[in-house]
Symmetry: C2
Subunit: 305 residues, 2 copies
Amino acid sequence: MRIERLALIGIGLIIGSLALALRKAGAVGEIVACARGDATRARALERGLCDRAVADPAEAVDGAELVVLGVPPGACGDVARAMRRRLSAEAIVSDVGSVKAQIVRDVAPHLPDRRRFVPGHPVAGTEHSGPDAAFDSLFQNRRCILTPIEDTDAAAVVRVRAMWEAVGARVDTMTPEHHDRVLAITSHLPHLIAYTIVGTVADLEDEARTEVFKYAAGGFTDFTRIAASDPTMWRDVFLNNREAVLEMLGRFTEDLVALQRAIRWGEGEKLFELFTRTRAIRRGVIEAGQAYQRQPAPPASNARP
Amino acid sequence: MRIERLALIGIGLIIGSLALALRKAGAVGEIVACARGDATRARALERGLCDRAVADPAEAVDGAELVVLGVPPGACGDVARAMRRRLSAEAIVSDVGSVKAQIVRDVAPHLPDRRRFVPGHPVAGTEHSGPDAAFDSLFQNRRCILTPIEDTDAAAVVRVRAMWEAVGARVDTMTPEHHDRVLAITSHLPHLIAYTIVGTVADLEDEARTEVFKYAAGGFTDFTRIAASDPTMWRDVFLNNREAVLEMLGRFTEDLVALQRAIRWGEGEKLFELFTRTRAIRRGVIEAGQAYQRQPAPPASNARP
């Protein structure tokens, strides 16, 4: 597996980590990164996330064998349009967005050959963002989901799969719609809830908030980590996976109201029964290898944002 | 600081860790533990959590200088009644329960001298429970809250504070009622929400649930850890801190409905504004020293329950 010229559009935690990991695996020749901000490009070059950094998506994709989009979901369509005129019809285009159906809808119409489009989503990340947050072991033993569309070439899928396997990920394929339903519950709803409870605390009076900080270790800390994730990306996720998120949120709210009622009426057996069932789910997650594989720490420079 | 004879009633994660930590600090003479189950007593002895293990609370407290209750909140009253006839009037009584006003209400009437009662709550723990889960560094740099009642002797508070400081905790004092309001938001509500979302997943069809396990790394994993906590203890917490939990849950639900509405109507700016504010809360938690101080791993034998 070797990519002679790789174009990366956007250069944050995920894309930057992909660059570092491919470089470490010796799986890539030249990496050209595209970012709008001067400081981002300078930092990406400094950290060795790319060989060249440019501001224009069309310039970045010129001559590239594989292009990976790493901008927030809502920006993918515009970027695809902007890079179109210099994109080779043979180039494979992929992405790392956390929603898939909307990205397919926004990006595919702008590509010279949609058979070369292999949408993807590495299920990995930290609460940090930007080029400083990138580190080369981010994808080790993590899942990566590819969501080829009807027209996608099998050969293009094989190539993108090989790229993710080269950086240590375990690759699955499914439809974009199925991806969005699964991630609504495993990722989008947990983030939504974490953002909400941390927001509830943000609205407390100053004194109460200070106490929350002091005693956060009792459970709240995990929520603050999740709710520190990139705001732009998460805004786009919720706006673009609206139906699946609202459906899962509806189920959650029903369950929460039932639990609230059990507490109000002192129904201890109902509480005990639920709390026992949820322990079994933890075992399921551990058996599937998704716990106790904590993300490695990001680089020290970024450990305390 | 040295306790000549310490009685521990109940011997799980918290109390067992206290025993190991006091032993390590050389701050204790004889430790007598009380547990109902034969297997628990045997295991506590095997792991060196106590010198003697008995089934009868009265026998355990006989001659003890300090007694610490570590049974679930709902059982504290009964235990206090059961130990009464052999408890010295000079003995200091404390506990480690996650709710305080109810424990004060249930325990104080049974004590020979309520001036010797110093209710406490070390804000520390893991999702594991039982004597196998205990480890000696659990309280290092964690907060411990003491909630003396009106009658409590200052000298008794000093003594219990010294015990927690000997095992590395940072000790604060506040009223039982204030404790319960603070913990409702920092600990009880996060647990309630984690239990709910993990329960929502437990109710999914088999195939969907299996997929959740596979892709849990996207955010769900943290919730499963929280929702694997001891069911009996958490049932008692919710039943006994009902008003404060329902009040905080009410605020949370209002905020969740507002967010749901913003998603449904595509109000990106509202989402972005909230997600930016929550990042600031993360910084507050980190500055208060409550993040990046992850609990050390429990003993290897218990690492995968």
